[in-house]
């Protein structure tokens, strides 16, 4: 437990609310996938809710976020409406992208969620482009690029880190290092355990925190954000997280042993944050329960709303090829 977190009761409340909304959303999507009501490859972020909430919760709508294939939590934390995200996964016209994008291609420009990307590492150069725009316009906006440890071995990562450092862009790289790249553990992909060590020679500020310790993520990101608002950068925040689910829903997960419930309880960011918040007196149990109930109701309403939404008109596919 970090005794001196900058968090206050209001922020802790908001973090818990976001984390519950993501947790219950992801669990509901898992069920819907088994019933074939959401479509395509579905990558759930259970275990990573704290990073999404602590990072996106400090950003403004006019700050940009780019994500990868495990993006639902980032989109929701950045402000994308849950009914729009759910309808998008269900392929409905009321989805954020009219159902043509899907789980790996969520976009909500109104909330600065510039996009999820299905190709690992492919989002990093795009984030640089948005940060370059902010730099040239001289605004105090920042860009955040989420990626996993699996993206670090992709060529785009090295190219992007070099460029961001060279151009000193107001960009915060946020790595969720869950130790797994698809089906394979990190030690089979790289000799470097810590992603913050990979970027060490570039000389910009970087740190590694326990991604299950939400106040620690919050504080570390807050420090980088304050600097990036002044136009400085880049920064890299590595959050060591635990991927509770398989790489995708339906992944047989033959590659790993079932996790002991005790271990999960220790690494579950939501359980830890709840315990911490109650202990600190930031929130009481009844309020946490109310947050959970409200989130559950919101998600059920989103599912019901999506079911009522028609599938998109087939003509929309042709109309969207060119602007």
């Amino acid at each position: 437990m970090t005794p001196d977190s900058a968090l206050d009761a209001e922020e802790a409340h908001e973090l818990l609310r976001t984390m519950w909304r993501i947790r219950l959303f992801e669990e509901r999507v898992g069920q819907l996938k088994r019933n074939l009501q959401v479509h395509g490859l579905i990558h759930l972020s259970i275990g990573g809710e704290g990073v999404a909430a602590a990072v996106c919760g400090q950003l403004r709508d006019d700050d940009a976020v780019y994500s990868g294939h495990r993006a639902h939590g980032h989109a929701i934390a950045k402000g994308a409406p849950i009914n729009g995200v759910m309808a998008e996964l269900m392929g409905r016209d009321s989805g954020l992208c009219h159902g043509v994008g899907g789980s790996m291609h969520l976009v909500d420009t109104g909330h600065g969620f510039m996009g999820a990307t299905g190709v690992v590492g492919g989002n990093l150069p795009l984030a640089l482009g948005t940060a370059l725009t902010q730099h040239l316009k001289g605004t105090d906006q920042v860009t955040v690029a989420f990626f996993g440890d699996g993206a670090v071995q992709a060529g785009h990562f090295s190219e992007s880190i070099n460029l961001a450092a060279l151009w000193e862009l107001p960009l915060i790289f946020v790595c969720e290092n869950n130790g797994m790249a698809e089906f394979t553990s990190r030690e089979e992909h790289s000799t470097i355990e810590r992603v913050s060590d990979v970027v060490a020679p570039y000389g910009f500020e970087r740190t590694t925190v326990n991604g299950s310790d939400v106040p620690a993520v919050y504080d570390a990101f807050s420090r980088f954000l304050t600097e990036a608002r002044k136009g400085k950068g880049p920064y890299l925040l590595e959050c060591v997280t635990y991927r509770r689910r398989g790489h995708y829903e339906g992944d047989p997960e033959k590659y790993r042993d079932p996790v002991a419930e005790q271990e999960w309880a220790e690494r579950d960011p939501l359980a830890r944050m709840t315990e911490r918040a109650i202990k600190q007196g930031w929130i009481d149990e009844a309020t946490v329960n109310a947050i959970e109930r409200e989130a559950a109701a919101e998600i059920e309403a989103a599912v019901a709303g999506a079911r009522e939404s028609p599938f998109p008109d087939p003509e929309i596919a042709r109309s969207l090829v060119y602007a």
């Binding site: 940009a64 780019y66 989805g95 954020l96 992208c97 009219h98 159902g99 043509v100 994008g101 899907g102 291609h105 976009v107 909500d108 420009t109 109104g110 510039m114 996009g115 990307t117 299905g118 190709v119 492919g122 990093l124 150069p125 795009l126 984030a127 640089l128 482009g129 948005t130 940060a131 370059l132 725009t133 902010q134 040239l136 316009k137 060529g155 785009h156 190219e159 992007s160 070099n162 460029l163 060279l166 151009w167 596919a317 969207l320 090829v321 060119y322 602007a323």
Partner: protein, 345 residues
């Protein structure tokens, strides 16, 4: 009209666009130094190295930076020095730029111009001489432009910068330094409109980029030697394609040749031939003939590269086949009129 060159027309158009619109930036390897062909010469002096950004040799990330900047409000013109290197940027171009508008349900748009150049003839070898434009035409969401002269390059580049979509602007290194005239100011050339360079009633030659000049030369020879009037059309834009102009011509002439420097197999000529036969089948007097490079990488050795590059002679031979079709009692290549069709392995 002032005399200039293709590359000067490019540099001048970029400067005009940058003067008119703060959102226009130029980035790529060595662009602030003018680049190896001087297509960006002088820009850094006038606009500074923030807007004219030299980049590391990182084609993938640099293309992605341009896409990210485009969907965030800038109008980037990114240069990939040789089209051969576009292989390194294809993830960003194909998976991101081409699909951003679509996948976001119309929320994002990518007003990006990717300038690059291709073509053989300078003994640069197999990795600096290719004509890869057909790959890009295969990806919905990209526009592909291929000007054959300086005036069109100027007019089309301005249109590409103004376009809200990603436009791949494919130049030809062999055309860069010819003396040409360009009106001042350059005439706008809309994307998606073909140009008929020479009217004719006996056959239609549809040629791309450098082959437009070769087609005009072949047409002159056909006229002077045989009294054949060939119509020469430059589509100028591959995507979107002005099929109507091409099909109207073929319906009048009944015979068509499609000519490009790219390898025939899977080349854009195949698409042109397929679309033209569908649009004008009942009017055709002969199979549409394709002129392109043989199915090999580009060799360095001068006589080999010269033999590799298709030109006026190959167009003329193909024209003879199209014109004489039906007068043979055997396949035309058995008469030595053209090389036998190559099968691809």
């Amino acid at each position: 009209m002032p005399e200039t060159t293709f590359v000067e027309a490019i540099a001048k158009t970029l400067a005009t666009a940058m003067r008119a619109d703060d959102r226009v930036i130029v980035l790529g390897e060595d662009v602030a130094e003018g680049g190896p062909y001087l297509a960006t010469a002088g820009l850094a002096d006038e606009f500074g190295r923030e807007r004219v950004r030299n980049t590391p040799i990182s084609e993938g990330a640099v293309c992605g930076v341009a896409i990210g900047a485009a969907q965030s409000g800038l109008r980037p013109v990114v240069e990939i020095m040789f089209i051969d290197f576009i292989t390194l940027a294809l993830d960003q171009l194909v998976n991101q730029a081409a699909k951003a508008h679509f996948m976001s349900g119309g929320q994002l748009s990518v007003p990006l111009v990717l300038r690059t150049q291709g073509g053989a003839g300078q003994r640069n070898g197999a990795q600096h001489s290719q004509s890869l434009e057909a790959w890009l035409t295969h990806v919905p969401g990209l526009k592909v432009v291929m000007p054959s002269c300086a005036a069109d390059a100027a007019g089309l580049l301005q249109s590409a910068i103004d376009d809200p979509n990603p436009v791949v602007f494919v130049e030809c290194k062999a055309l860069y330094f010819r003396r040409e005239t360009v009106p001042e100011p350059p005439e706008p050339v809309p994307i998606g409109r073909a140009k008929t360079l020479r009217p004719g009633k006996n056959l239609t030659i549809v040629a791309l980029s450098r082959m437009v000049g070769e087609a005009l030369e072949a047409a002159d020879r056909l006229a002077s030697k045989h009294g054949i009037e060939a119509e020469v059309i430059d589509p100028r834009t591959l995507v979107p394609l002005d099929l109507d102009t091409l099909a109207q011509s073929v319906k009048r002439t009944g015979r068509a040749i499609v000519a490009h420097e790219a390898v025939n197999a899977g080349g854009f000529g195949a698409e042109l031939a397929a679309q033209l036969q569908a649009a004008a089948f009942d009017y055709l007097e002969a199979p549409i003939q394709r002129v392109g490079a043989p199915y090999t990488p580009v060799p360095v050795s001068p006589p080999l590269e010269d033999a590799y590059r298709p030109g006026a002679q190959e167009i003329e031979a193909a024209a003879r086949v199209a014109l004489d079709w039906g007068e043979y009692d055997a396949e035309p290549w058995e008469h030595g009129a053209i090389a036998a069709p190559q099968t691809t392995p």
